[in-house]
């Protein structure tokens, strides 16, 4: 039996723009967190099943509305809208869609909550705090679809293709190892509700796909890493 497939590609370029590393392969792992959100989105608010979901940091939330915090019926589970995203992992940083990088391989990517090891590419500072080692390079609020994906689908020989690409620049003073990557989307959960009906919602990034790179790669200061995922829907 064959699979609904995704494919990843990773490129590293040096300061002069010269290509120094290329990795490309079939993606291995849609995550269990994604599958649970996908299943819950088949239901209405009266009977949506309660699943335990973990955000990229490993913090728990639930589908349905019987446990808190919860996402109720998950909506827009493929959202990569920079404008819609929120603070993560705390109010000092803003989350950047959509491909995040980690320093270690994951023991089981299908069960991982995000890239493993230290998160090195995910977020930009909004206060005077240290940045993450990687800063987004091609993300632009003024470019169609923020420059990270085509705004419309393309029909290829492999079927309908959805490609998402992030470029990250090593802005640290040290080489950074990248061993795992994740395609990350985000949902909002209800954190609390008052008797008057007011609610507090917070943004929860979760991994749709997690992959280990076949071997860790080193990205030197000033080098640019380009990571892309393409999901194919057969035609």
């Amino acid at each position: 039996m064959t699979l609904l497939a995704a494919r990843y590609r990773v490129e590293v370029r040096d300061k002069e723009g010269k290509l120094v590393t290329v990795l490309e392969d079939d993606s291995k792992s849609f995550t269990i967190n994604f599958i649970k959100l996908l299943i819950a989105s088949h239901y209405n608010q009266n009977d949506v099943p309660t699943f335990t979901i973990y955000n990229v940091a490993g913090n728990v939330f639930y589908t349905g509305n019987t446990q808190s915090p919860n996402v109720d019926v998950p909506s827009q589970i493929f959202n990569i809208d920079y404008n819609y995203w929120g603070h993560f992992p705390n109010s000092n940083y803003y989350a950047v869609p959509a491909i995040w990088l980690g320093t270690s391989s994951c023991p089981n990517p299908a069960l991982a909550n995000g890239p493993c090891g230290s998160l090195v590419a995910c977020c930009t500072p909004v206060t005077n705090v240290s940045p993450y080692p990687f800063s987004p390079y091609n993300l632009s609020p003024n470019v169609a679809c923020y420059g990270i994906t085509s705004c419309s689908p393309s029909l290829t020989e492999e079927g309908w293709a959805l490609t998402i690409t992030n470029q990250w620049l090593n802005v640290s003073q040290s080489p950074v190892t990248v061993a795992s990557m994740a395609l990350v989307s985000g949902v909002y959960i209800v954190l609390s509700a008052t008797a008057e009906g007011a609610t507090q919602k917070i943004f929860e990034p979760y991994a749709i796909i997690v992959d280990n790179l076949p071997s860790p790669i080193t990205v030197w200061p000033g080098f640019l890493i380009t990571a892309s995922y393409t999901i194919y829907f057969p035609v």
Binding site: F30, I35, E158, W160
Partner: protein
């Protein structure tokens, strides 16, 4: 090139009036529709972005009505209906379907049968020449309730049985996996029906009076 581009299998099982299996067809599914992929793309963006970037996504529901996703912008004149955004795209329950579908041939999510082949399934709005529920009577639509992990990947199965309640044979030549989708300002209680997958059944299957046919779509997500 991906080594595995096909992710969907369609199984068709015909049973006689005593419940005995008389025919089985199992084939890779061919066609996620253009409508599905447009809805999926629209669902990646919020009202603000759709509006400010002048993005418009169009798709057709199962009745062939053109629905536009336009944010807060004024919809083009060709739109039958406009949505501000897309929220849910895999809704599978019979409740909360937009009332306009109650007068249509079939009016809830499921795997719909059609009497005709579709010239190009990828661009079809549903099965071609949908078969009335007074001819093929639908059973419950079964859809995933919990994750199923197999050695082949995460497995998502959808299944529905239809029984010929007439006194004449019925020919099924196409099928479609139909979901409900919604967006603001209709969220959460008004779902619109669209075909995510459409396939021709080759050769067409004949369902004799009293016989039933079960369609099962199995989607595998790589692990």
């Amino acid at each position: 090139m991906p080594k595995s581009k096909v992710g969907v299998t369609l199984r068709i099982e015909v049973r006689d009036d005593k419940g005995r299996v008389v025919k089985v067809i199992e084939t890779p599914s061919r066609s996620f529709t253009q409508n599905f992929i447009n809805i999926l793309f629209a669902s990646m963006w919020t009202v603000y972005t759709l509006t400010n970037m002048n993005m418009v996504y169009n798709f057709y529901d199962v009745m062939g009505n053109q629905i536009c996703v336009v944010g807060n912008a004024s919809p083009p004149s060709y739109c039958y209906l406009s949505l501000e955004d897309v929220g849910i795209l895999f809704y599978s329950e019979p409740q909360y379907i937009d009332p306009s579908y109650q007068s249509y041939i079939i009016y809830m999510p499921g795997i719909w049968p059609g009497a005709a082949f579709c010239p190009e399934p990828v661009y079809a709005y549903g099965p071609c020449s949908p078969i009335s529920t007074s001819v093929l009577s639908p059973g419950l639509f079964s859809f995933p309730s919990s994750p199923v992990y197999t050695t082949s990947g995460w497995q998502m199965s959808y299944s529905q049985t239809w029984t010929n309640v007439t006194s004449s044979p019925v020919i099924v030549s196409s099928v479609a996996l139909v979901f409900g989708m919604t967006g603001d300002p209709y969220t959460p209680n008004d779902y619109f029906l669209y075909a995510a997958i459409v396939d021709n059944v080759t050769p067409a299957v004949v369902i004799n009076p009293g016989y039933s046919v079960t369609f099962t779509y199995t989607l595998l997500y790589a692990v």
